[in-house]
């Protein structure tokens, strides 16, 4: 599709948006896998509709403020990238576009306050913990608050696990086969420190030394995905310093963080060369824990007593679509004795978590969450596994109402020998 977008006008930071727009042939193959299109059914809430709107806006034909609602509706799940035969890299368009439009946007006070609150709490485990406590007090009045504030409070966990500190280094068991640095994440570390613990257990048991850089912070993905590129860059830079160079890989246990860190190249497009190179080098090392384990070789835990369990696997969008990792977690799970893997319908459709989406767009997120839970439960599993903390929380939240709720765990927990009784 031809466009009249002027690269010069956009400048080096945003010029790259022209390519995905022009690569789109408007065939519509993205429509059925788009969670907003499949719930709303209108063109402006579809990937190709958004691409068209972004084109018109970047050409100066429509004011960005007019299309904001439809850009905001996008969960950034990138299912459209998986389904696109023409190879349109939507992810390389939507993130920069959000950042570009954020520069032109005037937000209302309430909305600003909420974004501020999100950007300041979720990425900081301590603040997140504090905020959760406050939120739990407000739960009874959530229905009376503005919709998304209500959602924020509704979704906030009523109780958080004990805070957990990690050692700076965990040596490999037996012969050392590799050395990695672990991103412990922010929200995940507050919500479920057991995930990182499981990852450390599995990695070390498989002969991998794990470094947990002490001064690390949020990777900035959440900010990046909602167009707050300044905040995202600051977070990323902090981690460039915090992480050592002498590791084989930087391991992420959260799909959202992993995919965000792999996008650092785009985030620092147009920045000075030194930092851009640093970003690229860092990005190149980022690996999802399952992909890494699959690549270096994984031995399942020796637990012959474990009862057989049926595991429904949920593809996190930022793993399956953004990082194109689908087979590694399945392969690993199937190698664990006693695990039977179940495949739910509509694997490609987002669960509605999508970073902070379930807070900003509670209605759509709720519909998608229920749909996802329905598909997962239809397989009649003993446990649901996924590779992303956001999905985990979302699915857990929406399965509360199902007839027979089942535990929702991270894939790596199962690789660490998780069983229902344990």
């Amino acid at each position: 599709m031809i466009s009249q977008i002027s690269k010069d006008k956009l400048g080096p930071k945003y010029a790259s948006m022209k390519e995905p727009i022009e690569a789109c042939v408007h065939c519509g193959f993205c429509l059925p896998t788009c969670p907003t299109y499949s719930t709303m059914g209108d063109e402006m809430n579809s990937p190709r509709g958004r691409i068209f709107l972004m084109k018109e806006t970047l050409e100066g034909k429509i004011d960005p403020s007019e299309i904001d609602p439809f850009i905001d509706n996008c969960l950034g799940c990138l299912a459209c990238v998986t389904s696109c035969p023409s190879g349109v890299e939507y992810g390389e368009l939507i993130s920069p576009y959000r950042s570009w439009s954020e520069e032109q946007r005037k937000r209302g006070t309430l909305e600003k306050l909420q974004r501020f609150a999100l950007l300041k709490t979720i990425p900081c485990p301590d603040r997140f913990r504090a905020a959760s406590k406050i939120a739990s007090v407000f739960k009874p009045v959530a229905p009376y608050l503005p919709k998304s504030f209500g959602a924020m409070i509704e979704l906030a966990p009523s109780q958080l696990p004990e805070k957990q500190e990690f050692d700076p280094i965990y040596p490999a068991n037996g012969t050392r086969r590799g050395r990695v640095a672990l991103l412990i994440g922010c929200a995940q570390q507050a919500l479920a420190p057991k995930i990182n613990q499981a990852a450390i257990n599995v990695l070390t048991r498989n002969g991998i030394e794990v470094v947990v850089p002490e001064s690390q912070g949020c990777c900035g993905s959440l900010a990046m995905h909602i167009g707050a590129s300044k905040e995202a860059q600051a977070a990323a830079k902090k981690n460039f310093e915090a992480f050592p160079d002498d590791v084989d890989a930087i391991i992420s246990t959260a799909a959202g963080c992993g995919s965000g860190m792999k996008e650092y190249g785009t985030l620092f497009a147009g920045a000075d060369e030194e930092i851009a190179d640093q970003a690229k080098a860092y990005s190149a090392k980022v690996q999802d824990v399952c992909a890494y384990l699959d690549a270096v070789g994984f031995a399942p835990p020796e637990n012959s007593e474990a009862p057989p369990i049926k595991v429904a696997y949920h593809d996190a969008c930022h793993l399956a679509h953004a990082q194109k990792i689908r087979s590694a977690p399945r392969k690993l799970l199937q190698s664990v004795p006693g695990i039977e893997l179940l495949e739910p319908a509509e694997w490609e459709i987002c669960c509605g978590s999508a970073g902070s989406y379930n807070i900003e767009h509670p209605d759509t997120a709720k519909e998608l969450g229920k749909r996802k839970v329905k598909n997962l439960m239809a397989t009649n599993p003993d446990v649901i596994a996924t590779g992303n903390i956001g999905c985990l929380t979302q699915i857990e939240f929406h399965s509360k109402d199902s007839e027979k709720p089942v535990p929702v765990v991270h894939t790596v927990e199962l690789l660490d020998g998780w069983s229902p009784g344990r």
């Binding site: 042939v25 709107l53 429509i62 035969p85």
Partner: protein, 480 residues
């Protein structure tokens, strides 16, 4: 006119009536982006009554309308009409009834083609028409354009699988056509309605025929050193008396694109590949497969591969069905043609197309339903060149006229839409077209239903082939 819109507002709440730029703009084109036209409004009905009421209003005020599903038309069939409205049927997307014993389903027009098969799968049934965009396109659009797919030779087109209809005629009256049987008693009004490109009204409920999923498949992928050799192989298969479910050919460019899109394992060093699929009862397929293998051995294939699993088979098809869009990787701008030639003239047609292509200096990728002689030359061009599109359209016109000279048709399955309007007078005489217009006016005297599509008419004088499209001259459409 403002009366019309205020009445429209009384039918639709604001969240289902779009009049602002941000919500109307995404509807300016369908799968054929070289044509764009902004509608005055887009409405999103959720009931048959809303559709009928809208049409009554359009009829009263003489406002043209186009019904739209997923907007995947490759002929501009769902292109908006100037000063008209778009009726988006995406929320009429329920499967109303599925009757496995009668092998029928009753569906709303916004249901996606492959969803019917998915719903029928539990009963061992499926909906046979399988246009390449089947995971996206809606049954309403399939019906309006009598869509085809890869399995038409044996199983027919959409029309052969639509049994009964509830339709809203262009004046808003609702009529029942056909029944829930495969057979008719009396005239086949459903047959007329299907493929009428939206000129006779809007289908509200569609009774489709389902078929038992074949017990077995054998899918063969053969590669050849030339397109002609692949074409000859098709002739050999036909001559052998075997009736395959599908026979498809892709040329080198198309293979390259499809492989990049889905990694189906197509032979990338081949000039052409041929997909032949047998389906039916296991014993029958096995026997046919023996006969087919013998035939194929004599066709000089470089390599013959047989799909070893359902996954492999589906991947071969996924690649084939992604080919059009995948060509977007080779060139961001292309137009797809859809001409048909008698199968025995395939070789000649391909040779001529290749000659036209080099004369025009434009690359042409070929993907086609070889069993039906249905060609899909994809003409790649550079829209940033001043005359890029004109050159491509001139080449497309040459190819379509070639199809007619060889005794074929200008469209096998994409429909005439706006894109092939100017070639209708090449295929049909003024008398034929006059008869078509009489039929159209008998049902829609004000010519408001998808005005400007299929039939060159008063708003859309056809007949010129070079320079600006006649519709552009008439101010009906504009591009880019």
């Amino acid at each position: 006119m403002s009366d019309f819109y205020s009445k429209l507002r009384s039918i639709f709440p604001p969240d289902r009536l779009y009049e602002d730029a941000a919500r109307v703009t995404p509807y300016v084109s369908d799968g054929l982006t070289v044509f764009r036209e902004e509608p005055k409004a887009v409405v999103m009905p959720i009931s048959n009554e809303e559709v009928a009421d809208t049409l009554k209003l359009c009829h009263e005020f003489e406002i043209p309308f186009v019904a739209r599903g997923s907007g995947t038309s490759l002929s501009g069939g769902s292109l908006p009409i100037r000063d008209g409205i778009v009726i988006s049927l995406n929320r009429l997307n329920q499967i109303l009834d599925l009757d496995p014993d009668n092998r029928t389903a009753r569906v709303q027009p916004g249901v996606i083609n492959s969803e019917i098969s998915a719903a029928a799968a539990d009963h061992g049934l499926y909906f046979a028409p399988d246009p390449s965009s089947q995971t996206v396109c809606t049954i309403g659009g399939n019906l309006a354009f009598n869509s085809g797919g890869a399995h038409c030779l044996k199983y027919g087109m959409t029309s052969n699988h639509i049994l009964g209809l509830t339709v809203a005629l262009p004046d808003g009256t609702v009529a029942e056509l056909g029944n829930d049987s495969l057979e008719n008693a009396g005239p086949d009004c459903v047959g007329l309605f299907v493929g009428s490109e939206g000129l006779l009204g809007i289908a509200l409920e569609i009774q489709v025929r389902l078929m038992p999923v074949p017990e077995s498949f054998q899918t063969i992928l053969a590669s050849y050193d030339s397109l002609e050799a692949a074409g000859d192989a098709v002739a050999a298969v036909v001559a052998s008396g075997i009736l395959p479910g599908a026979m498809e050919i892709m040329d080198r460019l198309a293979i390259e694109a499809a492989e990049a899109a889905v990694s189906a394992g197509y032979p990338e060093d081949a000039e052409a590949c041929l997909i032949v699929e047998l389906d039916g009862e296991t014993a029958a397929v096995d026997a046919d497969f023996q006969a087919l293998s013998t035939t194929m051995e004599q066709t000089g294939a470089k390599e013959v591969r047989v799909a070893q699993s359902t996954e492999e088979r589906l991947l071969i098809w996924k690649g084939r069905k992604s080919a059009f869009s995948a060509v977007g990787r080779l060139s961001p701008d292309y137009i797809v043609q859809d001409g048909v030639v008698p199968r025995s003239k395939l070789g000649q047609a391909l040779k001529d197309i290749s000659r036209f292509s080099s004369e025009a200096g434009l690359r042409v990728a070929n993907v086609f339903h070889a069993g039906d002689g249905n060609l899909h030359p994809l003409i790649l061009f550079d829209a940033t060149e001043a005359d890029g599109l004109e050159k491509a359209e001139a080449l497309a016109g040459r190819i379509l006229r070639l199809c007619l000279e060889l005794g074929g048709s200008i469209t096998g399955e994409h429909g005439v839409g706006v894109e092939k309007l100017e070639y209708m007078p090449d295929m049909f005489s003024p008398t034929d077209l006059d008869a078509f217009n009489r039929i159209r006016r008998a049902i829609d005297p004000k010519e408001i239903s998808n005005r400007g599509k299929m039939l060159p008419s008063k708003e859309a004088p056809a007949l010129s082939s070079q320079g600006p499209h006649p519709l552009e001259k008439a101010g009906v459409i504009s591009r880019m």
